[in-house]
């Protein structure tokens, strides 16, 4: 009963802290433009210092829950301060700029959480770090315009999960209260990793895009993750706080991850299409002239239809036939401004070429022809429907089953560890996964009849699933509470 009262007080105190914070921010915001820059910084510093000190005073008087709410508020004000100071100095407003600010706020808050020994400050710090992770992801996509980088982020998420789990184990070994907070965030990152890789197109590009997913930084993070895990396991073994089954589970997940990376490299090797190179991509004159629609001209491989306009800017010589049988003619036309324009145009555009490359179904056979190039991605049927080859499709199915198994295993582990927040997180990812696959089916199944079936099945799943998941969640929570 005392615990229930404590929880009740905590919820209201947190809401109260947020409301006070919002009120102060709103009041300052309305007059923000007229406050000198130095005073703005001092107001922000005073804001989080006051909040932390008030938290400390209340903690001394045994109002621990309210004190934690004030530490939480202080951490939020600190994070807001980072963004507002950046605003005062008109720093980079791009997504990359916001990512850097999120990381700065995260580092400050996480370090401070250790000094204050405040779990709520650590939560704010980890949240800001995760926000930075996502913003950095968006900034990378924006900068490099390559969705293949998604695969890199999936592996980075796994590396982060290893680092954070190692840190969690160390905290368990020294009986620090941050253990479960780190456990929650490592669960989040490992589930995120699996979720990203459950998409077909991410699997295709995992190894085959223009971007190699294993960059120097990711290799460093994977090594760091392995070291953190090893140190965490060692620390727990020293204090006999880890079971053999937990160590086995960790190794099984890591081996499964490595095996998956290896299998995906093999399975997706021939997932893609072989196409004829564009004329502009060809750098050799012999290869260029061997392609129907291309012609080597002035040390450049260009389309035959552009030959006339490229070579003749007056009527003299415009009718000369070329080696590819293209005939040029001097033509005059009227432009939108009613002026007459003359140019040398091609009469025979030679568009009816045959692309012999598309018949080559494997990467190796494609590379045998100098005029062909391999494009990783979906292949398309004669009716232009996306297709996966059998090894990639099987890998995708296996990975999706493995992902569901991973979620269930984590739920089981969280139940044993009596960690309700991790159970909620796992169930959230499970629901997200089901909804994502369902939307995927809607997108893949064309035609009214099949779509109607998808909707009906979806409706049944949603109604049945909602009831079952609710029951399942309640059962797990009861188990945690009774334990």
């Amino acid at each position: 009963m005392a615990d229930a009262n404590d929880k009740f007080t905590s919820i209201f105190a947190t809401i109260g802290a947020i409301l006070i914070g919002l009120g102060v921010v709103w009041l300052l915001a309305t007059n923000w433009h007229s406050i000198p820059a130095l005073l703005k910084v001092l107001i922000l510093v005073a804001g989080f210092c006051t909040s932390f000190y008030a938290g400390f005073q209340l903690e001394q008087k045994e109002f621990r829950r309210i004190a934690q709410s004030l530490y939480f508020l202080g951490s939020i004000i600190f994070c807001i301060s980072v963004f507002l100071i950046a605003q005062i100095f008109n720093t980079d407003a791009s997504v990359q700029g916001a990512a850097v600010l999120s990381f700065i706020a995260a580092i400050g808050t996480i370090i401070a959480s250790y000094i204050f020994i405040s779990r709520s400050s650590l939560v704010v710090g980890m949240f800001m770090g995760t926000q930075g992770f996502f913003l950095q992801f968006l900034a990378t996509l924006d900068s490099y315009r390559g969705d293949q980088y998604v695969a890199s982020y999936a592996i980075l998420a796994f590396a982060l999960a290893m680092v954070i789990y190692g840190v969690s184990l160390y905290h368990r070994a020294v009986e620090h209260i941050f253990e479960k907070t780190y456990l929650f965030w490592s669960t989040f990152y490992v589930l995120l990793f699996g979720y990203i890789l459950s998409y077909q197109w991410v699997l295709i590009y995992l190894w085959r895009g223009s971007a190699n997913p294993i960059t120097g930084f990711i290799t460093f993070m994977l090594i760091l993750g392995a070291l953190a895990l090893a140190f965490g396991i060692y620390s727990c073994m020293q204090s006999a706080r880890i079971s053999a089954s937990e160590i086995t589970s960790i190794f099984v997940i890591i081996i499964a991850f490595a095996a998956f990376l290896f299998m995906s490299n093999v399975a997706t090797a021939d997932q893609g299409t072989c196409r004829q190179m564009y004329c502009g991509e060809i750098t050799s004159d012999s290869v260029c002239n061997s392609v129907d629609r291309c012609m080597w001209n002035n040390n450049y491989c260009s389309e035959t239809y552009s030959y006339c306009s490229f070579n003749y800017n007056n009527q003299t010589g415009c009718t000369a036939p070329t080696a590819k049988g293209v005939l040029c003619e001097w033509q005059t036309s009227t432009g939108w401004d009613n002026k007459s324009y003359s140019s040398c145009v091609s009469l025979q555009r030679n568009n009816q070429y045959v692309d012999s490359c598309t018949a080559k179904k494997s990467r190796s056979s494609c590379s045998e022809s100098a005029a062909c190039t391999w494009s990783p991605g979906y292949s398309y049927s004669s009716s232009y429907r996306k297709q996966l080859n059998t090894p990639t499709y099987l890998l995708w199915i296996v990975f999706n089953i493995a992902y569901i198994a991973l979620i269930l295993a984590m739920i089981a582990l969280s139940t044993i560890k009596k960690h309700a927040k991790s159970i909620n997180l796992c169930i959230s990812f499970f629901v997200l996964f089901i909804i994502t696959r369902y939307i995927g089916f809607i997108m893949d199944f064309g035609g009214y009849t099949s779509l109607a079936f998808v909707f009906i099945i979806g409706g049944v799943l949603l109604i049945g699933g909602a009831i079952l998941i609710r029951k399942w969640h309640k059962k797990l929570m009861d188990q945690v509470e009774s334990a």
């Binding site: 915001a29 605003q87 401070a112």
Partner: protein, 171 residues
């Protein structure tokens, strides 16, 4: 678990707050460096107004010197643009990948490359202001403070006559 029961000591709380103040202090010092030791440069500009969900309303400022002819650069590379003083505004002389040993220059990052020309970003492409702000004058140029490393910060928004742009805030 003992730590959770007793909470942090007064000394730890003071230490934590002091750490955060010093942490922010370094950030402020880093950002203020061009204002403290930098030289003044005025650049020709053309602004537009977007909105940042985290930090509020701001103005994107495009500079005439943002596009530079330069070879052998990739997206993300650091580039220095040499500046020479004109009658009213400063203009670019050339862009280089190595930091110049003398003269006035501004540091930029390559955003995109097209042939032998690169689009640069100097970190001063935004000017924040509060909501309901009315810009009473047309912005023609921007006064910057640039330190010895080429890092720049916006100092003032100027009109075509060189006077400061007036911003009125509605209550």
């Amino acid at each position: 678990m003992a730590q959770e029961t007793h909470g942090p000591s007064r000394k730890r709380v003071m230490l934590g707050a002091l750490f955060l103040v010093i942490f922010l202090g370094f950030m402020v010092l880093y950002l203020a460096m061009p204002y403290l030791v930098g030289s003044t440069v005025v650049l020709k500009t053309a602004p537009v107004d977007p909105f940042d969900p985290i930090r509020g309303q701001y103005m994107v400022i495009r500079y005439d010197i943002s596009t530079q002819p330069i070879n052998d650069v990739q997206v993300g590379d650091t580039v220095y643009v040499l500046l020479t003083k004109g009658e009213d505004v400063w203009d670019s002389t050339y862009a280089t990948k190595t930091m110049p040993s003398s003269g006035m220059y501004i540091k930029g990052e390559v955003q995109s490359v097209s042939g032998s020309s690169a689009q640069l970003r100097f970190g001063v492409e935004q000017y924040f202001f509060e909501r309901n702000a009315q810009i009473l004058d047309r912005i023609d140029r921007v006064e910057l403070k640039v330190d010895a490393t080429g890092t720049a910060r916006i100092s003032r928004l100027l009109t075509v006559t060189g006077s400061e742009v007036r911003i009125k805030y509605a209550d």
